[in-house]
Symmetry: C2
Subunit: 346 residues, 2 copies
């Protein structure tokens, strides 16, 4: 299907755009009253697993704001359930995995499921959203990257210092590599199924990889990211690779092979791009907490980011991480319009 | 007093050393049985506030291992109590501030105390330690840097996304600057008092500054760090400036004027040093979680770090952040000896 507003996809491919396209990580979320209204009736996992609800939530922000891309409402962890991992979301605590992977036997017992069966709800939601969008803007699919999925599965939730994960990685590398290979197969087939269902781009979230040293990332993580990126790119859609706290790993990020690299707010955008080198698009990088500031301060920072990206093709405006829960909605609306207006080529 | 083992101080000044000196952040801590034995008899704040106990704990690691520097056992938050801040340490929760700064009136009410009175316990501990060390190795004093103190005082404890701090910083910059100026005066006089009491170097911990964008660091934080660094350097002792997640801020770190910059493990040491440029010493940067790995893996990573620092004066070996609570003590002992042995100039 032809996409009418293809600014985002053009930027992914580093083609000239009319203005800097913008979408926001976690743009479908608690900061919106429309989301909270649905959330009152369903648990978080019910929302993810009910296709018409997930589709409705996906569409809320793109109906409210002139965003240049939608992103499917889903979560990185449900695909793990099909492997044999027992997942719940606890009130105020986030995800809890009740049978965390700790032994070689735990890893050996994992199966690689068929995501067309075990995550059919997300694939169906993608189809519903695409029917509704009807080519107005592109739809982004996503998956957790293997390291971030592994660290959740090992720690049993959000880790603090990832010592259990690192102990498995360094102490029993065979077990680690076997786990990462299984997760890589899962990620690839899950992304494949999403592309079949109709997504126009894929973002790999490696949210926790920034807790690794370059030494460990290079040896224990990068080869698996490479496999995922290469497999998804072969399907003909651009791949965005995103992590936080990775400012010190520019050369390794480039080696992922991703079309677009997500950059958090801990580095100036031009500095990040210079370190990454030519031939890659960049997504970012406003500090999400800045959206709580008075509008004038937000504008100063947006101007700064746009100025640092000026003269280069391939900038996608985004926050440096997911939008925060209580972000003022009027600032979100103004941000989207301002980025598009201020960056428009005269 | 002449220091017999001055390898650490020589490295701070980028003078040639016989080997790479090593100390470990939080080297006096829970991972040691000797520490836990004392901790059973006192609360954490009692330990900090009882000079002979603080001195005993300071000396535990330098008696157990051939470390090249001691660091006074203290905490960054007690100096805030003299300003009017009500601080406790809750079991398993860390520090809690019961009257967090939220309004202009809260900030206006803060007084700048005389640390010679309000933190006399730490100054006395410094004197006791120096008497005991008798010039064997240098003693490092420390303080929180203004931003990190401000964010604790505003959030009321460890923040997650620092949205309250950033809201004050961007929303009421006059209040922010007034708070930072008061904290800067506190930090300077506290460090001054520590140098008078006998410390041989000072580390400024800006543990949370890595959560800022370079834009905000430059405008709202750097000028105050500059004041602190300049004032302490004038006293004739080297200053180490340490933060985590600051790999994207090399040029700003250089502008602090510190003699030594602490680097976390999220960047290769040679890459960090290249970005920082010549004329500065570097401290770091082993991932603390690596100490849970089998010794062979630890050794590979130490070799890598030493190789990346080879040929340059001014490398101080350390972890990239504080040592973790359950770190195996035999790995700590081996690490200290191995760094000194492997780096020794033949």
């Amino acid at each position: 299907m032809r996409i009418k507003n293809d600014q985002f996809l053009r930027a992914c491919r580093r083609e000239p755009t009319d203005y800097t396209p913008i979408w926001l990580m976690r743009q479908a979320g608690r900061y919106m009253a429309e989301y909270r209204a649905v959330r009152e009736r369903y648990s978080f996992l019910e929302m993810v697993k009910t296709p018409d609800v997930a589709a409705e939530i996906t569409l809320q922000p793109v109906q409210a704001y002139p965003l240049d891309a939608a992103i499917i409402f889903a979560d990185i962890l449900p695909p793990l359930e099909g492997m044999g991992i027992d997942l719940t979301f606890e009130q105020g605590e986030g995800p809890v995995i009740h049978n965390p992977l700790r032994t070689p036997a735990d890893v050996a017992a994992l199966v690689v499921p068929e995501p067309r069966e075990t995550t059919a709800f997300t694939l169906e939601a993608i189809q519903l959203v695409q029917r509704e969008l009807a080519g107005r803007i592109p739809l982004i699919g996503f998956s957790g990257a293997p390291f971030t999925l592994a660290s959740y599965a090992i720690e049993g939730g959000s880790g603090k210092d990832y010592r259990i994960t690192k102990r498995m990685m360094l102490g029993t590398p065979d077990v680690w590599h076997s786990l990462m290979q299984k997760l890589t197969e899962l990620v690839i087939s899950y992304c494949h199924a999403q592309v079949e269902a109709g997504v126009n781009a894929v973002q790999l979230f490696d949210s926790w990889a920034g807790n690794l040293s370059p030494f460990d990332y290079r040896e224990y993580v990068l080869p698996y990211v490479n496999q995922c990126v290469a497999a998804v790119r072969e399907l003909g859609v651009p791949v965005i690779y995103f992590g936080t706290e990775m400012s010190g790993m520019a050369s390794l990020l480039r080696q992922t092979g991703a079309d677009v690299l997500g950059v958090d707010w801990r580095i100036d955008l031009d500095e990040a791009w210079a370190q990454l080198g030519p031939g890659v698009a960049v997504q970012g990088n406003l500090d999400p907490a800045v959206l709580f500031a008075p509008w004038g301060e937000i504008e100063r920072r947006v101007d700064d980011i746009l100025a640092r990206a000026a003269g280069r093709d391939g900038h996608i405006f985004n926050l440096g991480h997911g939008i925060l829960t209580e972000t003022p909605v009027d600032h979100v609306a103004r941000l989207v319009e301002y980025v598009q207006m201020a960056s428009r080529v005269a």
